[in-house]
């Protein structure tokens, strides 16, 4: 037990004397009731509703003025306006959105990570009411306002965003005013405009998902984060396996039934999609920087040929080729969505798109234009605000309604927060 002093008392004494669970009986009982799953409290008054809306959207209680205004809106039967007011709170961006996106930016799904170009771009797209589908395909990046004189954006470190976060924490600036939109291709000269794909081609995403390996990680985590599906949920062993690369053993451990019953189900659909990332690589000093902290995103443009493959395709796409020499040899960055022909078409692919293309931008668009993308965003917000997944037919109807509203609002994610918070503000 630590002996650190608090208010001249040891931590033991503090807990003994000040522990609200012990000393404040009404709080104790309240907490215990909650901890044991007491489903809900009766939330009836417009005061309670206003406070809940604000708490759920911004993560913090409202000021007296804002609360008063929100109550008024609710009493005037306009809770949507009350929710919109809550969204104006700085903590909606700094706390709610940042912690919503943070685990998406790394393979460990760690929430304790600094602000970076991935999370800043995610927040910025919501902040500026941009069509949220651009998150997977836009030539967009959000950086700190130049007037703040922060450490400039650099392709080989995250100091710019860490400086921005420091400035925010010291209350010298607010995140919502500090973020400015730029063209990703301007900020990251390595990327031509047609090679940008929203957060997928940010430095942070590259560091996390193009690091070593085979670049499949960037596809898998995109599926997980933006379609709310892991590969096992959409695996289909009957898909055509002609694009599965050579590095996938067809007889792992000497047993091909493992491949035919499991591996093929994910790789048949994933490999032709992950081919979109064939020209991207995370370049770092393996000897002096083995974790790639100081690495940078590289992209083989039309004039850059990889020495190993002899094409623009990165060498990692041809690694372990002897595992199954008869497998697919990636020749370019063309991708195709085999799930469109799958029995499981419930992801709702956009009939206006062709389901094939070249590069990450069009592949990101393919994902973002699916019905599942819209549903995933809305359900994630619902869960964020209501603290539970949709649980009954009323909830599912609400989700359907929210998807429609989300689309009608130009895929503005704020709309989903407004709708969810109103739905879950209590009667």
């Amino acid at each position: 037990m630590p002996t650190q002093k608090y208010l001249d008392l040891t931590i033991v004494e503090v807990l003994d004397k000040f522990n609200p669970m012990k000393k404040l009986s009404w709080l104790t009982s309240l907490t215990i009731l909650f901890a044991f799953g007491y489903a809900s409290l009766a939330v009836g008054s417009s005061v309670d509703q206003a406070k809940r809306i604000h708490d759920r959207i911004a993560g913090v209680p409202p000021s007296a003025t804002v609360l008063s205004d929100m109550i008024t809106f609710i009493d005037n039967n306009n809770p949507q306006a009350a929710a919109s007011l809550a969204i104006e709170n700085e903590n909606f961006y700094l706390v709610t959105l940042k912690n919503m996106v943070a685990p998406m930016t790394n393979v460990d799904q760690d929430v304790f990570v600094p602000l970076d170009d991935y999370s800043a771009t995610f927040i910025g797209i919501v902040l500026n009411d941009i069509d949220f589908r651009q998150v997977l395909s836009g030539n967009i990046i959000f950086v700190g306002d130049p007037s703040l004189n922060l450490t400039p954006y650099a392709p080989d470190n995250n100091l710019h965003y860490e400086a921005l976060e420091s400035a925010i924490n010291s209350n010298s600036v607010e995140l919502s005013t500090a973020l400015v939109q730029r063209s990703q291709s301007d900020v990251i000269p390595e990327l031509p405009a047609d090679a940008t794909a929203g957060v997928l081609t940010t430095r942070a995403a590259a560091k996390a998902f193009f690091y070593a390996g085979t670049n499949r990680a960037n596809f898998r985590f995109t599926l997980l984060n933006y379609l709310c599906k892991d590969l096992e949920q959409i695996m289909d062993v009957t898909l055509t396996p002609d694009r599965i690369r050579q590095d996938v053993s067809r007889s792992p451990g000497g047993d091909s039934s493992i491949f035919l019953n499991n591996c093929i189900g994910c790789h048949a659909g994933m490999d032709p999609m992950a081919q979109a990332f064939a020209y991207y690589e995370w370049d770092y000093d393996r000897d002096n920087d083995p974790m790639g902290e100081l690495g940078r995103l590289v992209y083989n443009s039309s004039s850059e040929m990889d020495a190993t493959t002899g094409t623009r395709v990165q060498a990692k796409y041809h690694i372990n080729s002897s595992n199954f020499p008869y497998g697919y040899v990636t020749p370019d960055d063309s991708w195709e969505n085999y799930w469109r022909a799958s029995n499981d078409q419930t992801l709702g692919w956009d009939a206006a798109l062709s389901g094939r293309g070249n590069g990450a931008k069009s592949m990101g668009q393919e994902l973002a234009h699916s019905e599942q993308f819209a549903q995933c965003q809305v359900e994630k917000v619902f869960q964020q605000v209501c603290f539970r997944p949709p649980s009954d037919s009323a909830d599912r109807s609400q989700i359907a309604s929210m998807i429609t509203n989300f689309k009608n609002a130009g895929y503005n994610l704020k709309q989903a927060f407004i709708d969810s918070s109103v739905y879950c503000m209590g009667d």
Binding site: Y6, L7, D8, V14, L15, K17, F18, K23, S25, W26, L27, L30, T31, F34, G37, S40, L41, V43, G44, S45, V47, K51, G59, P61, S63, A64, L94, V95, N99, V111, F112, N169, N171, T238, P241, D242, S249, R250, S251, P252, G253, G254, S256, S257, F259, N261, I264, S322, N323, Y326, Y328, A341, N343, Q345, T346, F387, R388, S391, D392, G426
Partner: protein, 838 residues
């Protein structure tokens, strides 16, 4: 598509054997760097030969490598001598006449295709328990005899039209073993489990009488012919007097009846008459053998191919006497496509784990042949079962126990390891040479691995034809300390306590190192028997003898490999013109397979612009795919289907769209709570918003950074831990402390409260009420249904202060004490569910 390159690929494949053999000639005999061969001089009775000398060098090669090995009375010489049965190629009176006699029956270009080999493979005169092993041994004699002749071979595979079979309705073997369990299985467990079960005293693979019915079913599938039960392997073996339990004929009938009963209960799969199909083929009956040699083996001294697929002996088919056969024991099983799997699952006792071991006397062949040259090469095709085993786990070892060896090829996690006893290393062959950890060379998939050892370089490891560039720091040394009393063992240590799990499909020991080119050559030839299957599609393309040709092999026990299909008409004058080939699929036993249809998106136009008979037709696809074995290679009937081929079209109905199932409502008592915890940043920001204290305030920031990861990261209230409360308490204290210590902030938050007097004055009844009101207004704000009222809060604060004041009789009654008590009261409310839960 780049047709220049694909035609080049076609050429390579079509004339593969010829090119490879030519290549061998260049790297084997033609190189000035090559070493002298070390011919097999061991003979059985040749030393007593007193007839005419060999008239030519070829006859001399015949005498040394073939004749001397077959003239013994327990081999061909028993019958094919000068006095008995023709052809008299084992006669001992005149080696020149023997040479003349055998020539019609051997093919020096393709030794394994020699008619004498074919004869022996059928069981004629075989001196071993395995006809396959005898045939391979004879082929090895011929290969050794051929020597440079083989190297000059440029012959190619000749594609011959197979007998066409129409598709017939077949029976689809059930996946489930329940029908088997009530029909054939009882006979197997009754009469065969003394040998063909893992638990038998001397277990004999395959385990079709296993106590586990699914294991038994899997092993029995290829031995039951549901179309013609009397042709079932089970029935044929009993009719061949294999371990009958009574009258063999009756036993065979009993087995046949059981299989008939099994068959009768299986519905017939009707072939869809609308499909555009090729003719049907069986792998073994209709396939053209595509691999008949080409490996570099001039200096091999022991070779294991594991072809026989059953029994408890792995035969040395090197043709180099004495044969170093290996006894299989423990937990092992034969696998399809030639190989042995060593397991560790069935037998708990480590001594019972699988291995294949030769006798020390026969193993002395390795000692004799290798110490004579001072160098060797161990070559193997292996599939490690995992990348977690270590020890090193012994894959190939010539040793006497865990601490004594001549050489070992082993596995440690992702690495291959080579141990060798020499003047530069210990008796245990250490220090070991390992592949680099970072390279992760060893993968749990089929790999070709070679260990070279010579005086110049010491040990060198090659994986999949590539030198790993891991240097042997010990260097090369003398092998004079080798021990001739060790045994060759695969899959384990001689002492049985360093098991390796995985599949070995080929092991060859050479008493010279293989050159880089030779290793690459042997790797390129892969392992196992490959066939060409010619699927007749003339019906649809209006061309004579038109075929889609696949290279097919048994990939392992579970699947076939279909590879690199091409189109060709065997009529040299036929040329396709604008024939559309679309969406090709593989069918087995009357239906398209569900999994592995890698050619389902094929789109090729067969046309003169891309077709060349002399260059091997036209490529359809360059990739390969694996499809599941159903009844086994002897029984499975393959065919192809096309959505479009020439005049044939098949309209494939679109996949059925699956309507998502609406999930059931979650019962009320199972629903997630509608309230939750504030997460770490929310707690911090909430405290900052409530108190007005900057998050960057030094003690606040320091505490938050300390407890941040102890605070909740999820809102789920059921994940609430006491650790969360500890962290919240610490942080709330820091915020309240900072609030009270900041005179400006406190004068706003606790407006009018007297911080400059002792508790007796500041926290009297009125003071306490004032404090409670400030805490209520500042933290709770306005009255809410789910929050305590101001009166409740006042009562609780008053009670708390009573205790704090009364419990401390020695505390001063001064302003400092008042501030402490205010901080305590503030923290009690701020860190409570009031702000922690929402």
């Amino acid at each position: 598509m780049n047709w220049d390159s694909t035609i080049g690929a076609m050429l390579f494949r079509f004339f593969l054997i010829g090119f490879i053999v030519t290549f061998i000639g260049a790297c084997g005999g033609g190189s000035g760097e090559s070493v002298e061969e070390n011919p097999n001089t061991e003979t059985l009775t040749a030393s007593s030969y007193s007839g005419p000398v060999a008239q030519t060098s070829d006859i001399e090669n015949f005498r040394i490598n073939f004749w001397s090995n077959v003239i013994a009375n327990n081999r061909c010489g028993q019958c094919h001598n000068e006095n008995d049965q023709a052809p008299k190629f084992a006669r001992t009176d005149d080696v020149n006449l023997a040479y003349n006699a055998v020539n019609p029956y051997v093919d020096l270009n393709s030794p394994s295709l020699s008619s004498i080999v074919e004869k022996v493979s059928g069981g004629h005169g075989c001196w071993l328990a395995s006809n396959t092993a005898c045939a391979d041994t004879i082929a090895a004699y011929i290969s050794a005899w051929a020597g440079e002749s083989v190297a000059g071979n440029t012959s190619s595979i000749t594609l011959v039209a197979p007998t066409s079979h129409d598709l017939v309705d077949t029976k689809d073997i059930p996946v489930d073993s329940s029908l088997f369990s009530t029909t054939v299985y009882p006979i197997l467990t009754n009469y065969c489990s003394d040998c063909h079960a893992e638990t038998a005293t001397i277990p004999q693979s395959p385990f079709f009488a296993s106590a586990d019915v699914d294991t038994a079913y899997s092993a029995a599938l290829s031995r039951m012919n549901v179309e013609v039960p009397e042709d079932s392997r089970f029935v044929v073996r009993l009719n061949s007097f294999h371990n009958c339990w009574g009258d063999c004929s009756s036993n065979a009938s009993e087995m046949q009846n059981a299989i008939q009963q099994f068959s009768d209960a299986i519905p017939v799969t009707t072939v869809d008459s609308n499909l555009v199909t090729s003719k049907a083929l069986n792998l073994l009956d209709d396939g053209i053998i595509a691999s008949s040699g080409g490996r570099y083996e001039a200096n091999m001294i022991a070779k294991y191919e594991f072809k026989q697929g059953s029994g408890s002996i792995a035969y040395d088919v090197s043709g180099v006497s004495p044969e170093l056969h290996l006894n299989l024991s423990g937990d092992y099983e034969w696998v399809g496509g030639w190989g042995i799997r060593f397991n560790s699952g069935a037998v708990e006792d480590e001594k019972g784990k699988g291995k294949a071991q030769g006798s020390t006397s026969a193993s002395k062949k390795l000692y004799d042949q290798i110490t004579a040259t001072g160098e060797y090469s161990i070559e193997a095709w292996v599939t490690p079962a995992n990348v977690t085993q270590e020890g090193p786990a012994r894959i190939v070892s010539y040793s006497g126990g865990v601490s004594e060896r001549n050489f070992t090829l082993g596995q440690v996690l992702y690495n291959y390891v080579a141990l060798n006893r020499s003047s530069q290393t210990s008796a245990n062959g250490e220090p070991a040479l390992s592949t680099n950890d970072d390279d992760e060379r060893l993968q749990a998939t089929l790999q070709h691995v070679v260990i070279n050892y010579d005086l110049e370089n010491g040990r060198r490891i090659y994986v999949n034809g590539e030198y790993t560039e891991d240097l042997d720091d010990a260097g090369g040394g003398s092998l004079s300390d080798w021990d001739s009393a060790f045994a060759l063992v695969l899959g384990n240590e001689a002492s049985g306590d360093r098991p390796w799990e995985g599949v070995i499909r080929l092991v060859v020991v050479h008493n010279r190192i293989l050159t880089d080119d030779q290793i690459q050559n042997n790797y390129d030839l892969r392992v196992g028997q490959k066939y060409y299957l010619l699927f007749n599609v003339s019906e649809w393309v209006d061309l004579a003898e038109a075929f889609v040709v696949f290279e097919v092999s048994e990939f392992d026990s579970s699947a076939y490999l279909f590879n690199a299909p091409f189109f060709i008409s065997l009529d040299p004058n036929a040329v396709p013109t604008g024939i559309r080939l679309r969406n090709m699929r593989i069918g087995i036993n009357g239906k398209e397979v569900d999994v592995g249809q890698a050619y389902a998106k094929t789109s090729v136009d067969l046309d003169a612009s891309s077709y060349s008979y002399s260059l091997g037709g036209q490529v359809v696809s360059t990739i390969g795919t694996v499809v599941a074995i159903e009844k086994g290679p002897a029984l499975d009937q393959f065919f192809l289907t096309f959505d479009e081929l020439g005049s044939g079209t098949y309209v494939r109905t679109s996949s059925t769209t699956v309507t998502p199932v609406t999930p059931a409502d979650v019962p009320d008592d199972e629903r997630a709570p509608t309230i939750g915890l504030r997460t770490f940043d929310e707690v911090n920001s909430t405290f900052s918003v409530i108190t007005g204290v900057d998050r960057q305030q030094s003690s606040v920031l320091s505490t938050f950074e300390t407890v941040k990861q102890q605070l909740p990261t999820k809102v789920d209230i059921e994940s609430f831990l006491s650790a969360h409360q500890m962290a919240v308490t610490q942080l709330s204290i820091e915020y309240c402390s900072a609030l009270v210590d900041d005179t400006s902030l406190r004068s706003t938050f606790f407006s009018g409260f007297d911080f400059n007097s002792g508790p007796s004055s500041s926290l009297d009844t009125a003071g306490r009420a004032q404090l409670a009101t400030h805490l209520f207004n500042g933290i709770i704000g306005v009255a809410q249904d789910d929050q305590p009222t101001e009166a409740e809060l006042t009562t609780e604060i008053s009670d708390l202060l009573n205790q704090l004041i009364n419990d401390c009789t020695s505390c001063s009654d001064n302003a400092a004490r008042t501030q402490i008590l205010v901080k305590a009261s503030c923290a009690a409310v701020l860190g409570s569910a009031v702000s922690f839960i929402h």
